[in-house]
């Protein structure tokens, strides 16, 4: 008759490995949760969409194109003044850039040159939009861009195509 020995001892050694495995799993979960909640919410896509919508409403109120955007007075800071926008923020440098290109509807297909191009904000942010077109995941820290084209007619029923580009940076509060 064999006497079974050391079964209890074998169970005790196995439980050490068991707890070591639990510790490794728990450490992994701790790290994942910590990194997940350390990352801020990125609301820049919504922000650029809202900004684009605001400018679209400003340029074309109820479908009627505002002729002031074609005037010679539409220089620097024209968009922010006309559309009631404030580009100051908690950062030292301006975190926004907006650009409006106005095309004659009839010449839009044949010509790529706009009748009028107006911009406001930090022009250096426009370059981020070109980089984003490459869809490289390493470029998450770049600004977020939103581009929209709308059709509008003025009071004399002259049709226009208006392209609106909105860029929001605020990387430190959304991506880092």
């Amino acid at each position: 008759m064999k006497i079974l020995r050391n079964k209890t001892g074998a169970d005790k050694i196995l439980s050490v490995y068991w707890f070591a495995m639990l510790f490794v799993i728990a450490s992994g979960i701790f790290a994942i949760v910590y990194v997940f909640y350390l990352h801020p919410f990125d609301v820049r896509e919504i922000e650029t969409a809202v900004l684009t919508g605001r400018i679209a409403e400003c340029v074309s109120t109820q479908g009627i194109f505002d002729d002031n955007f074609l005037s010679d007075d539409s220089g620097k800071n024209f968009i922010s003044k006309e559309c009631h926008l404030n580009f100051n923020s908690e950062f030292d440098k301006i975190q926004y850039y907006v650009e409006i290109e106005i095309y004659d509807f009839k010449a839009f297909e044949s010509s790529s040159n706009p009748m009028k191009k107006i911009s406001d904000g930090n022009e250096n942010l426009k370059a981020d939009c070109e980089l984003q077109k490459t869809k490289n995941n390493n470029l998450k820290l770049q600004s977020k861009c939103s581009e929209k084209s709308i059709y509008s007619i003025d009071k004399k029923n002259v049709p226009y195509i208006i392209k609106i580009l909105s860029v929001v940076r605020k990387t430190e509060k959304n991506a880092v």
């Binding site: 209890t8 068991w18 707890f19 979960i29 949760v33 909640y37 609301v43 809202v50 404030n86």
Partner: protein
């Protein structure tokens, strides 16, 4: 053989208890991280900034802040939890805390607690005329 059964039971119970302790610590950590005041400050500040950006004059927005107020009370913070400086909205639920986010709507914005009820449960945001 009687002594062996007793040892086996005690060992198993200790084993199960230790596993439960591990799981409890894990769950408590995850829940505490998800409900931290810092996260709520960031979430609320960004939500309010986007609401203000989307709104036109004259608009009044009422937001429920009961959860935020209870968190502020837990952290012994009794001042206004939401306030505005120029075009930056700040949500603060602790003395040494707070999160700020700017909005681009150039309107006269007022943010104040809703004192129409006996207990403050909401904050009112009014977007007045453009500056």
């Amino acid at each position: 053989m009687i002594g062996k059964r007793g040892n086996l039971l005690a060992e198993n119970i200790i084993f199960i208890v230790l596993n439960l302790v591990f799981l409890t610590i894990l769950i408590v950590f995850v829940v505490s991280k998800s409900q931290s005041p810092a996260m709520m400050e960031e979430e609320m500040a960004k939500q309010i900034a986007l609401l203000i950006d989307s709104a036109k004059p004259v608009t009044t927005i009422k937001i429920n802040v009961e959860d935020a107020l209870s968190k502020a009370e837990n952290n012994n913070y009794n001042q206004d939890i939401i306030f505005r400086q120029k075009n930056i909205v700040t949500v603060k639920l602790r003395d040494k805390g707070g999160y700020s986010y700017s909005f681009f709507n150039d309107a006269d914005v007022s943010i104040f607690p809703d004192t129409s009820e006996s207990e403050i449960k909401n904050y009112v945001i009014t977007i007045n005329n453009y500056n």
